[in-house]
């Protein structure tokens, strides 16, 4: 076989994708002969199902057409309930970024302090252990009640779900900086501030970045659910809205794009992480 392993794996991926689409296509082919359809069900699903010959699930071609329609004009705004998928996506990304950056702003300095002080570590540990496993959506009613603003509440939920991995990883990374390196700084009479940014920060950076990468993944998972709850704008709201319109091809399109954006976010952070890793 010719070609590098990379090329071969790419070819295999393409073949798998084609196979998947083919199976999908075959599974959603119009059924031969008309089937009896439960009238209740037909009423529920509307015209498409009422025809009977056609599967309720969209075919790849239908999804492709809808995908193309969405992507050819992603950034229009025609009203509160009619915005391009790109606009919705940008709303979601904006929320994730604000909540995530706020969380980083709190988690990294706090994690630094916790990592440097065993006393603080032990004192805060019970709080962190209790707060960490709470589903971020459980905070939603409380946030809506106290903040009284759905957009800010969504950002708060992102904040609260992305803070823990960053906090714990920063604290762990800082606490496990090699004693030797700190001793080098001490024998050179390096002040605490310079030690923090010239020794501890670069030493702990790979661990901190791992936490940041886990956080962005969780934040992106949570935003869709949060926007389904608070409504208004965002890709989560889009999915919910299209479900109400029973536009399954649009939902499939959104699912696909959510996956792609999530991957892009992860890749961006992986790129950043690569900049700060060091070989020992």
């Amino acid at each position: 076989m010719a070609g590098s392993p990379r090329l071969r794996s790419a070819v295999l991926s393409a073949v798998l994708l084609a196979g998947l689409i083919l199976v999908w296509h075959l599974a959603t082919l119009p059924a031969a002969g008309s089937q009896a359809v439960d009238p209740e069900y037909a009423k529920l699903l509307g015209a498409a199902a009422a025809q009977g010959q056609k599967s309720a699930f969209p075919t790849p071609a239908e999804v492709g057409a809808v995908l193309w329609r969405h992507l050819s004009n992603p950034f229009y705004v025609r009203g509160t309930n009619d915005m391009g998928i790109g606009v919705q996506m940008l709303h979601s990304i904006g929320r994730v970024m604000s909540g995530y950056l706020l969380a980083a702003l709190v988690a990294i300095p706090l994690g630094f302090l916790i990592g440097m002080s065993p006393l603080l570590y032990r004192a805060l540990d019970p709080f962190i252990q209790v707060l960490k496993p709470i589903s971020p959506l459980a905070w939603m009613p409380l946030a809506l009640y106290t903040i009284k603003d759905s957009a800010v509440s969504a950002i708060f939920v992102i904040f609260i779900c992305s803070i823990w991995p960053m906090l714990l990883n920063t604290a762990f990374g800082v606490a496990s900086v090699r004693r030797e390196w700190l001793n080098v700084a001490r024998t050179l009479e390096v002040g605490p501030l310079r030690t923090a940014y010239a020794v501890i920060l670069p030493a702990a950076a790979p661990t901190i970045m791992t936490g940041m990468r886990i956080s962005i993944g969780i934040a992106w998972l949570v935003i869709v659910a949060a926007e389904m709850l608070v409504g208004g704008t965002g890709i989560g709201y889009f999915v919910w809205n299209e479900w109400n319109n029973l536009s399954i091809p649009s939902i499939v399109t959104a699912i696909l794009l959510i996956g792609l954006v999530g991957m892009a976010l992860d890749l961006a952070l992986a790129r950043l992480a690569k900049l700060v890793t060091y070989a020992e």
């Binding site: 090699r178 030797e180 390196w181 001793n183 080098v184 001490r186 024998t187 050179l188 009479e189 390096v190 010239a198 020794v199 670069p202 030493a203 950076a205 700060v276 060091y278 070989a279 020992e280």
Partner: protein
């Protein structure tokens, strides 16, 4: 040596409490010795007797349980740029380049220097240890010997009054170790660098040290005696074994490490040994049979103790 010692270790002890508040282990106690300006002193002892601990206390990185270290007339209470350390592991920062590691130290010593001057100074020391051309490499790309050279450059670049080394060559192969020993010898002689080094390699001690401090086994380790190296100062690794003193000194050290380090407590009880003034011996000048059999007759006059505290 009538001048004031640069470092004076006085009554040093280290104890670790046992879990549960019971009286714990005493790693070493009541250690007394000095290092004079321009002198190269080696400390030899078995693994675990507390050598690294002593060095850390001298560097100000660790606290002793009792006793003090006087450096330059003042009690050591913390680390200082006057005392540079070469660590048992090389302790280079892996995210910095070779030049970056040395420059980090230079910038600490000379915070007011402009960047170009810091780099220029650092580059000079990288060249001094024979690493010209490797400035931009990261420690992970270097061999063990090269890493240790960077550690040496980093320590020398701050031009310390006192160089403290913790078995700097123990992790290296024999060939590299020999080369680095020669280099350290040259650098220290050229600059009259006061150096205190820990080792458990007898030949290394004989090559480098003016005086060799012998430490007994722990727990409760002591300074048994101090061996004066009577080989000529311009000795080299290749030539020194031809000198008649060499084997006498070597046998004396070997004899100590093999037998006496373990049973020294009994020897001390027999009398004549004073912890405050450990005897200075010159086995190189002694009759060979005496030097190997028994150290007592070869004891020289103890150095006058200069009490600074």
């Amino acid at each position: 040596m009538i001048d004031r010692p640069l470092i004076s270790v006085e009554g040093l002890a280290k104890r670790y409490p046992a879990p549960g508040g019971k009286p714990g282990t005493t790693v070493f106690e009541n250690l007394w010795f000095t290092v004079h300006p321009g002198e190269f002193v080696c400390l030899i002892g078995h693994s675990g007797c507390g050598k690294t601990t002593i060095l850390n206390v001298m560097a100000g990185l660790e606290q002793a349980s009792a006793g003090t270290v006087i450096a330059d007339g003042r009690e050591v209470s913390g680390p200082s740029l006057d005392r540079a350390m070469i660590f048992q592991g090389h302790a280079l920062m892996p995210w910095m380049t070779v030049l970056g590691n040395v420059a980090f130290a230079v910038r600490s010593r000379q915070p007011k220097w402009p960047k170009a001057r810091v780099l220029e100074h650092a580059r000079r020391y990288v060249e001094l240890v024979g690493l010209a051309g490797a400035e931009a490499k990261h420690p992970a790309q270097l061999s063990g010997g090269m890493k240790q050279r960077v550690g040496i450059a980093r320590a020398l670049a701050i031009q310390p009054r006192m160089l403290l080394m913790d078995e700097p060559f123990s992790a290296l192969d024999a060939l590299t170790r020999g080369m680095l020993q020669d280099e350290v010898l040259r650098l220290c002689r050229e600059t009259h660098q006061t150096t205190f080094m820990i080792t458990h390699d007898i030949d290394e001690a004989i090559l480098l040290a003016d005086r060799i401090v012998l430490m007994t086994n722990g727990p409760g380790a002591r300074i048994a005696e101090i061996v004066v190296n009577t080989l000529p100062r311009d000795r080299t690794r290749h030539e020194m074994h031809r000198h008649p003193h060499y084997y006498r000194i070597r046998n004396h050290l070997l004899d100590f490490l093999v037998d006496r380090a373990r049973d020294f407590a009994r020897e001390a009880e027999a009398g004549g040994w004073d912890a405050r003034n450990p005897p200075e011996v010159r086995p190189g000048e002694a009759e060979p049979s005496l030097a190997v059999r028994n150290a007592a007759p070869s004891m020289a006059r103890p150095t006058p103790h200069t009490d600074v505290a």
